[in-house]
């Protein structure tokens, strides 16, 4: 579904260029759950923005469903690393934002507002924020903002879901709860996911393939297929094969950090 083909990206910057990605290639198939891991500042967020067409590659090509990406794509839902909730909208309105923009919801939005509202409230309920629906983003804690942002990425059930460290500000339990939510949703709807994370267990539990990136300028140095059977129960995390995988990934990252 998504292909980055020998992509290089340099930010202009104020005091000289920064090459964030150099000759990165990655291929994510339709319906695949891909995870990207790598050291801080290696270009993971940049990769996400490239894949959705938010920025254009300096060199190389990005294609989505075989078509060259030249501008923001219309089928994605994205949870940014910073929650980026709009401060003038209540939490509920923030979550409903994609419904106001993306077809077919957009044209139905006015008529079926009540139904969409219920849907958004339900989703907020799933992440434990139902009580905060009518509040403003800055009335919530960091982790709560991140959860709301996740809801915003999911509400319109996009064909492509981009998650940039969506659980970083959450405690272990909330995190695992949301893993399960995401897993079930993915299994039910079969969308494509790219997940950036620093938590290798998270990657191993959720993903079909894990891409390991090198330090800046980033590049995919290893791609691992995770073949634990689906659906995966949380208990899979305690299996030796799982721990092994995590350890191997760890080792790989340790290695690329040294280089």
């Amino acid at each position: 579904m998504i292909r980055l083909d020998d992509v290089t990206l340099s930010y202009k910057g104020r005091t000289g260029e920064v090459t964030a990605l150099a000759h990165t290639s990655i291929d994510v198939k339709r319906g695949e759950f891909a995870a990207v891991v790598g050291p801080s500042g290696c270009g993971k967020s940049t990769l996400m923005k490239l894949a959705t067409g938010l920025i254009r590659p300096t060199k190389g090509a990005v294609s989505l469903e075989g078509q060259l990406v030249t501008g923001p794509v219309k089928m994605a839902g994205m949870a940014f690393q910073h929650a980026n909730l709009l401060p003038w909208r209540s939490v509920l309105d923030n979550v409903m934002l994609p419904l106001e923009i993306v077809e077919p919801h957009r044209s139905r939005f006015r008529r079926e507002k009540a139904a969409y509202r219920t849907r958004a409230l339900d989703l907020l309920g799933v992440v434990g924020l139902r009580d905060f629906a009518d509040r403003y983003p800055w009335e919530m804690s960091g982790g709560m903002q991140q959860r709301a942002s996740l809801c915003r990425a999911l509400i319109h059930e996009p064909a492509l879901l981009m998650l940039d460290e969506p659980f970083a500000a959450l405690d272990a339990f909330t995190r695992e709860e949301l893993w399960v939510v995401l897993r079930d949703l993915w299994q039910r709807l079969g969308f494509t996911v790219i997940l950036v994370t620093h938590d290798l267990r998270e990657a191993a539990f959720l993903a079909d393939t894990i891409h390991v990136m090198s330090a800046r300028p980033g590049r995919i140095v290893e791609t691992r297929t995770v073949d634990f059977p689906r659906p995966r129960p949380l208990e899979v995390c305690y299996e030796p094969a799982f721990t092994d995988l995590v350890h191997q990934l760890r080792g790989k990252i340790a290695e690329v950090r040294q280089a």
Partner: protein
């Protein structure tokens, strides 16, 4: 207690202003021709309350009409300018140039075309007041954090959507700031036009009174303008609290 203190200050300031003004007039024996004391001004206002009121209404409506034009046009132009850098660069100098020109010079042209009366007043109010709106809307758009825009762009939103959902709300505190400036300018514009050509309005009244050297009445006219300005401001203050309140959260958050 604190709220009470806040509510008193506007009154206190106004009263203080009048007291100082009166005192200065008496103490420095300022000629009533130059600056009549407030007591004389109020006396004149009481004596001529009906013409004052009538003419104030004329000015109020021309001002508001011109101002509303300016709001619509100013926001549209601000969005246009915020939209495209080429338009920004092309239009800004022209607008700056136009705004450096006293509108007094433009009024006669308007009067030639539209005759004296309300239309030139409305147009002058419009011409004088749209620029601050354009500047603040354009600045607001240009300084919008790209991260917030990305939220919409990632959804494949059109540029228009981005304007509506991010640009305009993000800009609204500054839009309201500029409206406060613009409404006062609109009053000035309407009055200036009335002084040059009108049979009604506070500007007309003031010139007439001025040509008879009824300075207290002239100042009563000024006072009427000030009051109208403050009234309009109050309207915006309410609108602002409703529509851009989110931006002023410093004062409302945190513990008490």
């Amino acid at each position: 207690m604190k709220i009470a203190a806040e509510d008193i200050t506007p009154v206190a300031f106004t009263v203080a202003l009048f007291v100082i003004w009166e005192a200065a007039c008496r103490f420095f024996r300022i000629d009533a021709f130059i600056l009549p004391p407030p007591s004389a001004v109020f006396a004149a206002a009481a004596q001529y309350w009906w013409p004052l009121l009538k003419n104030s209404f004329v000015t109020l409506w021309t001002t508001v009409a011109g101002f509303l034009l300016a709001v619509v046009f100013g926001i549209a132009l601000g969005l246009l300018v915020g939209w495209s850098r080429a338009i920004y660069r092309g239009l800004y100098p022209v607008m700056i140039g136009f705004n450096s020109i006293p509108k007094v010079a433009v009024v006669p042209i308007l009067i030639m075309w539209f005759g004296i009366g309300e239309i030139p007043a409305i147009l002058t109010a419009f011409l004088i007041s749209f620029f601050p709106i354009v500047v603040n809307v354009a600045t607001g758009l240009a300084t919008t954090e790209p991260e917030l825009e990305d939220v919409l762009r990632a959804l494949g939103a059109s540029k228009l959507d981005i304007m509506r959902k991010v640009g305009i709300p993000r800009t609204s505190p500054y839009l309201f700031g500029s409206l406060k400036v613009a409404i006062t300018l609109a009053f000035v514009g309407a009055v200036v036009s009335e002084t040059i050509g009108a049979n009604a309005g506070v500007g007309h009244l003031m010139v007439q009174a001025g040509s008879n050297f009824q300075m207290p009445l002239v100042f009563a006219g000024l006072l009427a303008l000030a009051i109208e300005g403050i009234l309009m401001y109050a309207v915006f203050a309410v609108l602002e609290r409703r529509m851009a309140g989110w931006a002023f959260r410093a004062s409302m958050s945190a513990a008490g």
